[in-house]
């Protein structure tokens, strides 16, 4: 098991730090999977539908790292699985985001001492001056099953979300009124966020949103275009995902599996983030 990679571009480092930062908000432990071409961050939430992960982030290795050396567990399974604490990693990366940082370079290495260690070497303002931190981590069990790429769920409806900042603002207000929020969408480009409490019921309508075209099995089946399909989720969890706007996604797709799950898809040039939110109850 061997891995080392170097990141030179400030933009890449910043985005990498943002991604790790959003992982830290979502979970205490996270699994890092490294293959020849990609880097994956996976958060598994117990009790999700089809054992789908809570989050699945996919980063293009070539885009982020120059000089990569990588060797997996064996020839057949040429990949690495590691469990680490994103909170600690995020704390370390924060040092690189200070504006005085003149010639930022980030090296990530996997070293094996007594247990596997994730080592970060950072060069900040002075060339040649390195700042090193290590974090011990361990290989998760049952990696074969739990951490495979999730299947695209059989969603009932799929829609592009309006700017996340706008959505987040509405959701934040709604959080003060209720614990659960219902997301509904139809195939005409309407998205509805609604809550109901003892004192009030509120619905926000986003209209004329565009919709992704899926030419695959499991895509939306035929039916009434106006019909709204919905799933109810915990507002707190939804909000922690919406904080992912920092990555500055170019597109966010929201897939609704009626009454069961919400599947969010953040698309960026070299990152995709998938987020699975189980429904709290069927209505």
């Amino acid at each position: 098991m061997k891995f080392s990679g170097t990141m030179m571009e400030l933009g890449c480092i910043r985005q990498f730090a943002h991604i790790v930062g959003s992982l830290a908000r979502l979970s205490k432990v996270c699994v890092l999977r490294i293959t020849r071409t990609h880097l994956y961050f996976i958060i598994n939430e117990p009790g999700t539908v089809h054992r789908a992960p809570g989050l699945w982030a996919e980063l293009d290795l070539g885009h982020y790292f120059s000089a990569v050396t990588m060797a997996g567990v064996s020839e057949e399974h040429n990949e690495i699985f590691l469990e680490f604490e994103p909170d600690k990693l995020s704390g370390t990366l924060r040092h690189l985001q200070v504006p005085e940082c003149q010639c930022p370079t980030l090296k990530i290495k996997l070293s094996k001492k007594l247990s596997p260690c994730l080592t970060l070497e950072m060069q900040m303002s002075t060339p040649g001056q390195w700042f090193t931190t290590s974090q011990s981590c361990h290989s998760p069990g049952d990696s074969g099953n739990l951490y495979q790429e999730p299947e695209m769920p059989q969603f009932t409806t799929s829609i592009y979300l309006p700017p996340l900042k706008k959505v987040r603002h509405v959701v934040e207000r709604m959080k003060n009124l209720a614990a659960n929020l219902t997301l509904s969408a139809n195939r005409k480009g309407t998205l509805v966020l609604s809550i109901t409490s003892d004192t009030a019921s509120v619905s926000t309508y986003f209209r004329k949103l565009s919709m992704p075209t899926w030419d695959m099995e499991g895509g939306p089946s035929q039916g009434d275009d106006q019909q709204l399909y919905s799933a109810t989720v915990e507002i707190k969890k939804l909000l922690s995902f919406l904080a992912g706007e920092q990555i500055g996604p170019s597109k966010v797709i929201c897939n609704i599996v009626e009454d069961r799950m919400i599947h969010m898809f953040l698309l960026h040039d070299d990152v995709t983030l998938q987020y699975f939110l189980p429904a709290t109850r069927s209505t």
Binding site: H169, V170, L177, S201, V202, T204
Partner: protein
């Protein structure tokens, strides 16, 4: 003024009045005149109901309440009558929010009967002046004593805290004071906790009028100018504390 969750709302042809009460000792009233609305229609002379003020405020702020810069939010409110919810329709940049706020039977509100008993003392000043006095109040003091008088010290606010007594006086000649009219020396104590909620409207206000009637009831009236140069008023009534006899 949402220091309590529940508020009474009175709709009448002249506008909307929202009333919040605290322990039957203090009362805040906000008046939103019908001029504030581009359109205002009402069929009955007066409609009263109670609702959850926090929910109402959250709904009104759903798009950020005008802080989001260039975008302007439009609001339409409807109430069909007894037993129906108050319906709000907000729109910003093509995004629409519908809210239904459940209404309840109104609570009896206190009638402070302030104006009939004769207002003895009245001071109108710029709000910054009173704001400074109020923010500097000693929080360890349970009571606040206000003296209003036609002779010195004219207007004095005192607290009696753990670390000693503090007094602030405002002279009639102060540039901050716009109008001073006192007929009689009145000295009254009010619970600081009861006065506290008045801080919020005070910070939004342009001017404030402090009045006291012969019974020692305090009335603070705040004049608030909205972004569109409409004037709104918030009134805050507070009961005096019974004298303990040593004065």
């Amino acid at each position: 003024m949402n220091f309590r969750d529940q508020a009474n709302v009175v709709l009448s042809p002249s506008g909307i009045k929202v009333t919040v009460e605290n322990a039957k000792c203090a009362q805040a009233n906000a008046f939103i005149e019908s001029d504030m609305f581009q359109e205002y229609e009402i069929e009955e002379e007066m409609v009263i109901f109670k609702l959850n003020l926090t929910s109402w405020i959250e709904c009104l702020n759903i798009f950020g309440g005008g802080t989001s810069g260039a975008a302007t939010t439009s609001l339409k409110m409807r109430y069909r009558g007894h037993g129906y919810p108050l319906v709000l329709e907000l729109e910003e940049d093509g995004v629409v929010t519908d809210c239904e706020i459940n209404t309840e039977e109104p609570e009896d509100t206190l009638d402070f009967d302030f104006f009939s008993t004769g207002i003895m003392n009245k001071v109108i000043m710029r709000s910054e002046c009173l704001k400074e006095v109020f923010t500097d109040l000693d929080v360890t003091s349970e009571m606040v004593e206000i003296i209003m008088s036609p002779e010195a010290p004219f207007f004095r606010v005192s607290t009696f805290g753990n670390y000693g007594t503090s007094q602030t006086e405002i002279s009639t000649e102060s540039e901050m004071v716009e109008h001073f009219e006192c007929k009689q020396t009145l000295k009254q104590r009010y619970r600081l906790a009861l006065l506290k909620p008045s801080m919020k409207p005070l910070s939004a206000a342009l001017k404030v009028s402090v009045r006291m009637d012969a019974r020692g009831f305090l009335c603070l009236q705040f004049m608030i100018k909205t972004d569109n140069h409409h004037i709104c008023f918030i009134e805050y009534f507070c009961c005096p504390e019974e004298e303990e006899g040593d004065d």
